[in-house]
Amino acid sequence: MKSFLMALVALIVISISANLILQQIGLSSSNASTSFGNVRISD
C-alpha cells in the first residue's frame, strides 16, 4: 500500500513538474501551433 501511495505522490509531482518545466523552456504544445503575440513588427 505504501508503494501505491508513493506512486500516486510521484504521479502528481511528475505531472506538475513536467508542466512547469515545459512552460519554462517554451515547449508547451499550444506554443507549437500558434504564433507569438507580437508578430506584427510594423504597420
Binding site: S3, F4, A7, I14, S29
Partner: protein, 394 residues
C-alpha cells in the same frame, strides 16, 4: 423507315448521358468547362471524380498581360484561378506566420480523418472495450474465481520489492487516468456534449487535456522503470511453450510450471512495453505538434518495400501534409491505446477478482507460499531454495 429513324433517335437520346460520362470535356461544354450536374451527383454518391478540369485551372503566368495593362498585375491568374490554387494546395503561399503547417490552407485528408474519428473510431472503442468486459464477465460466470487448490500454509514469500511495486503502480495509475481522460476527449463531441452540454464539457475537456498531457510523463517514466526491472524475467523460454500449450491451466487442470513470470504475464509485459512505447511515441508527436513526424517516412518505406501491394492495397499516402501527420498520429494513438486497454482489462481481472491470492503480489509484495507453488512453481522452488524438479522444470 420512319419508325427505324425514330428508334435510332430515341437510342441516341439515351446514349447521350453515357457518352457524356466517357467524355467529360464535352459534357462540360454546356457549363463553360465548369462542373456539371453529373459531377455534383457523383460527388454526392461519394464516387471518385476526376476534377483536373478545375484543379489544373490555376492560371498561366506565361500568358500574363503586361503589368501596365488592365489586370496585368494578377500575373496571368484571375481571382478564381487563385482560389482554385488555394483549394488544391497548389498556390505559392508566403506568410509571416512562422508556425509549421501555416501554408496549408485547405486539407482534404482532414475530412476523411474527421469522418473516421467521429464514426468508426467510436464504434471500435465501444466494441473493443465493451466486448472485452463482456468476455471477462462471461469467463467469470462460467469459470468462477481461480482458487488456490492446495491447503494454504500461512507462510508468505516476497514476490515484488517495493521499487517494483512503485513502478507498477505508477504505470497503472497513470494509465488509468490517461485512459479515462483519453476517452473523454474521444467521446466528447458525440456523447458528452449531447449528454451534459457545452459548458460542462468545456470544463471537463480543458481539465482532461491538461491532465492527459502532463500525466503522460509519469507513464513514460514508469514504462522505463518496469522495463528495466522486469525485462530479464520476461525473456521467452521453453517453459512458455508448455504453459501456452496448456493455456496456463485457465480452463481447468493443474497450472503448468512457470518461472517468476508465466507466458501469459510475459505477453502482457511485452504488450505493455511495445504498445505502451508506441503510444508514448505517437503521444509525443501529438504533444509537440508538427515537430515529430512519424508517418510520412514510414509510409514511404512501406511503399518502397511493396507491402501495401502484397495485400492488394494502393500505395500509402506520401508525402503527407503536416496536418495529416497529426491526424494519423491521433488515430494510431487512439487505436493502439484501445487495444492496450482491452489487454489491461484482462490483466486487472486476473490480478484482482479473477484469481485468489494474486492481488497480494502487488498489494503487499508477498504471496501465499501455496499460491506461488501452484502458479509459479519453478520460481517458488528457487526462492525457497528447494532442488528443482527436473522432470517438470527443464
Amino acid at each position: 423507315m420512319l419508325r427505324l429513324l425514330g428508334l435510332l433517335a430515341l437510342m441516341w437520346t439515351f446514349a447521350v448521358p453515357s457518352f457524356a460520362q466517357e467524355m467529360p470535356a464535352d459534357a462540360r461544354a454546356a457549363t463553360g468547362g465548369a462542373q456539371n450536374l453529373e459531377d455534383i451527383m457523383r460527388r454526392q454518391e461519394g464516387a471518385k471524380i476526376d476534377d483536373s478540369f478545375r484543379s489544373d485551372l490555376t492560371g498561366n503566368p506565361d500568358v500574363a498581360a503586361a503589368t501596365t495593362d488592365q489586370l496585368g498585375t494578377l500575373g496571368g491568374a484571375s481571382d478564381p484561378d487563385l482560389w482554385r490554387a488555394l483549394r488544391y494546395n497548389a498556390a505559392d503561399i508566403t506568410t509571416q506566420v512562422r508556425t509549421p503547417a501555416a501554408t496549408t490552407l485547405m486539407q482534404d485528408g482532414g475530412m476523411w480523418w474527421l469522418s473516421f474519428r467521429e464514426g468508426p473510431m467510436l464504434k471500435i472503442a465501444v466494441y473493443l472495450l465493451g466486448g472485452t468486459l463482456l468476455l471477462l464477465t462471461l469467463f467469470y460466470l462460467i469459470r468462477g474465481r481461480l482458487r488456490i487448490h492446495g491447503e494454504k500454509t500461512g507462510r508468505t514469500i516476497v514476490r515484488f520489492k517495493a521499487f517494483e511495486r512503485f513502478g507498477h503502480w505508477l504505470l497503472a495509475s497513470s494509465f488509468i487516468v490517461l485512459g479515462i481522460t483519453g476517452l473523454i476527449s474521444l467521446f466528447g463531441r458525440k456523447v458528452l456534449i449531447p449528454a451534459f452540454g457545452h459548458e460542462t464539457f468545456s470544463f471537463l475537456a480543458v481539465m482532461s487535456k491538461w491532465v492527459h498531457n502532463n500525466i503522460s510523463w509519469a507513464f513514460m517514466v514508469a514504462l522505463v522503470i518496469i522495463f528495466v526491472a522486469w525485462v530479464v524475467h520476461n525473456l521467452p523460454d521453453r517453459t512458455d511453450l508448455r504453459w501456452l500449450a496448456r493455456a496456463g491451466g485457465l480452463f481447468g487442470g493443474e497450472h503448468p510450471p512457470a518461472k517468476k513470470f508465466n507466458a501469459g504475464q510475459k505477453l502482457i509485459f511485452w504488450s505493455v512495453i511495445v504498445l505502451g512505447g508506441s503510444i508514448s511515441l505517437s503521444g509525443l508527436s501529438l504533444l509537440f505538434p508538427f515537430e515529430i513526424n512519424l508517418f510520412g517516412h514510414t509510409f514511404s518505406t512501406l511503399n518502397s518495400w511493396g507491402l501495401p501491394k502484397l495485400f492488394g492495397l494502393n500505395d500509402l499516402p506520401y508525402p503527407l501534409s503536416p496536418q495529416e501527420e497529426m491526424q494519423f498520429a491521433q488515430l494510431w494513438h487512439s487505436i493502439v491505446s484501445l487495444v492496450l486497454t482491452a489487454i489491461i482489462f484482462a490483466h486487472i481481472y486476473l490480478g484482482s477478482v479473477g484469481m485468489e491470492g494474486a492481488f497480494d503480489a502487488m498489494g503487499k509484495g508477498e504471496v501465499e507460499e501455496q499460491w506461488a507453488r501452484e502458479h509459479h512453481s519453478i520460481w517458488a522452488q528457487e526462492v525457497l531454495g528447494e532442488p528443482a524438479n527436473s522432470k517438470e522444470n527443464t
